[in-house]
């Protein structure tokens, strides 16, 4: 599991939304996502999500570990850990196996903790998995 130090060294994400850029839509990937700018829509990944200090995210987020140093409006689902850092702000329902809110961090909304392994939801599939599923379904129908 990533520590605070790892978060600071989150240097090789698969997807980045830089400062000064607005990205809208549904972003699905299997890699890590870093948001430093503005994002609206849905974020779905099998990896981790970092919401940087100056980021504004209006989206539902599904990921393994989620680190929030900026602002998130939406429902947040971290399979493993949700870490709201001292500058972070989350407004919405959150669910996670582990929740950390550092001094100064803000959570406005409901929180659900996954008690056991079986309670943890699976992360929404990425592209490849979706394609395989479609093929399987059509084969079954045929």
């Amino acid at each position: 599991m990533k520590t605070r130090k790892d978060f600071a060294d989150f240097t090789n994400p698969d997807t980045i939304v830089g400062r000064g850029v607005l990205v809208e839509g549904t972003l699905k990937t299997s890699g890590d996502i870093q948001i430093n700018g503005e994002f609206k829509g849905k974020l779905i990944t099998e990896g981790d999500v970092v919401v940087g200090e100056h980021a504004h995210v209006t989206a539902d987020i599904n990921a393994q570990n989620i680190y929030v140093a900026g602002e998130v409006i939406g429902n947040v689902n971290a399979i493993a850990k949700l870490d709201i850092l001292e500058t972070g702000k989350v407004a919405g329902s959150v669910s996670s196996s582990s929740l950390v809110i550092e001094a100064g961090g803000i959570l406005k909304g409901n929180s659900t903790m996954y008690d056991t392994e079986s309670e943890r939801p699976e992360i929404a599939p990425t592209y490849e998995v979706e394609e395989v599923k479609e093929e399987t379904e059509s084969e079954v129908t045929a």
């Binding site: 997807t15 830089g18 400062r19 000064g20 850029v21 990205v23 809208e24 990937t29 592209y127």
Partner: protein, 269 residues
Amino acid sequence: MYLFLINPEAGNKQFRRVEKRITQMLDRLKIKYRFVVIDDLVDIPKLVSAHLRPSDRAVVAVGGNATVNGVINALANKDVALGIVPMSKVNYLAQSLGIKNWRQAIQLLAAPEFNSARLGKIGQHYFIGNIKVASRQNLLTTYLNKTSLWRRFLGPTHAPKALENSVTTQMTVDDEIRAAGEAKSLEVTLNGETHEKRLKIQFIVGDTPDNKQTLLHGNSLKIESDRRMPVIMGNETVAHTPIEVQGLSKYIKLIVPKKEKKLTAKADL
């Protein structure tokens, strides 16, 4: 047998100066070849159709970026490999493959090693590697910063002058994701087979790449901007915004230098 497509105008008519040495080297290396001279780059597809034989091992583009781009376009739907013999100092693709000069390129043909590269498409143009999109002013500034002897002499302590010209740009990735910002530059690179998406899109909106770089992946990309920006392949302008870029599931075989084997501790022993 190799089919050589030669642009005699490339690199300040370099081929005419080295033609004899090239043929001598080909003969010495016992490489079979046919030379076809390109009078007009537009004719490359016709020349390929007219001269390519099923037994040919590869088509060899002899020239600069425009020649190579033309040959890639002509070979995109054919199952034949591409060799490159650079005839100018700015043959971008040759450089990116590690081919330093025409001598090395000819030597590669004697015992060719092949590598597959994904093909992309901008409008009617096929490409491999990457493309750049930026305002003319930014491209010129970057080029001058790179080539300036004075800057080379001063070294990294004197950072290049900041790019001042930004263009309001909108991108649509896979018709699903929209991104907007004041673009300084944009680079689209074709991903290899291992990545789930075919295009890597880097979008720079600031002078420092630290946290002003946006990195997205997709299979298709539409770029629109409030001012027309050139699309650069190598150092050739092939289109202007608005454009649509596609990463294809097609590949082209390239003749590349052999990978140097790294010595391991065991080997050293």
